[in-house]
Symmetry: C2
Amino acid sequence: MRGVASEVLSLLVRQGATVAVAESLTGGLIGATMTGPMGASAAFRGGVIAYATDLKASLLDVPSDLLDREGAVHPDVAAAMAAGVRKLAGSDYGLAVTGVAGPDPQDGKPVGTVHIALAGPGERLWHRDLRLTGDRDGIRTATCQEALRLLEGVLKANSGEHLG
Amino acid sequence: MRGVASEVLSLLVRQGATVAVAESLTGGLIGATMTGPMGASAAFRGGVIAYATDLKASLLDVPSDLLDREGAVHPDVAAAMAAGVRKLAGSDYGLAVTGVAGPDPQDGKPVGTVHIALAGPGERLWHRDLRLTGDRDGIRTATCQEALRLLEGVLKANSGEHLG
């Protein structure tokens, strides 16, 4: 995963852009991965680990009625987390994940349900919804990797390197 | 490190207590480690990745004049981060780390300088200041481990299991 993190950091630096993360099921794994490469501080600002559901509302401004209605694992929650952390950290991009790492289902959503959202300049928003298989560690690692790949794809599209 | 995280989570649950983290050089590694074991949500609330210095002020209420005067790598900064995240997350304990992972020195502090602080009930505060050796990965991993050990020691002392 170090490879995709380094690539994302290089793309951000080349584009003069920064990112912040809002993590639920990964608990800090995306931030830890992004800050592995030296020089990460040029593009990575930080973020929020919103593991408890109420912190998604109090720290990231995810609407409480959305959380009450849909639970914490929903595409709209991921989108609100991404927009929330982008604003809170004053970054160009906000990358957010919410999902069920297991071993038990949550709010009626099966283990492996994962929603990734990326908020960017001009209120743009990108989504990826996954149904992952594997154990708790595998689901968390795959979530981190897919989130970084979403950001990588968007940054490559910006620079005309990729039309994905 | 999974072992000490599981032990810390067990001690917290037995004491009916919760924790939140404020991470600088580790970038989310402590949160990722704490949320590895299943059932982490019973005691781990979340936290803030304050990688950029200005986020330590804006998100965690670390005094700007302290940051201007001492830089981000200072025992008082760690203490303010710990108290700040404890309040922000509404947790019983706030565990914070700041330091220099390298490869370059920061604000005149050599690589491996690390300050850990733990804020607890009744405005209590515990400190650990380290001078670690090794590469960037080694320093980040050792910081995470030492932070969890500080919390483990305090929780064991609470329960009379340890007089350290």
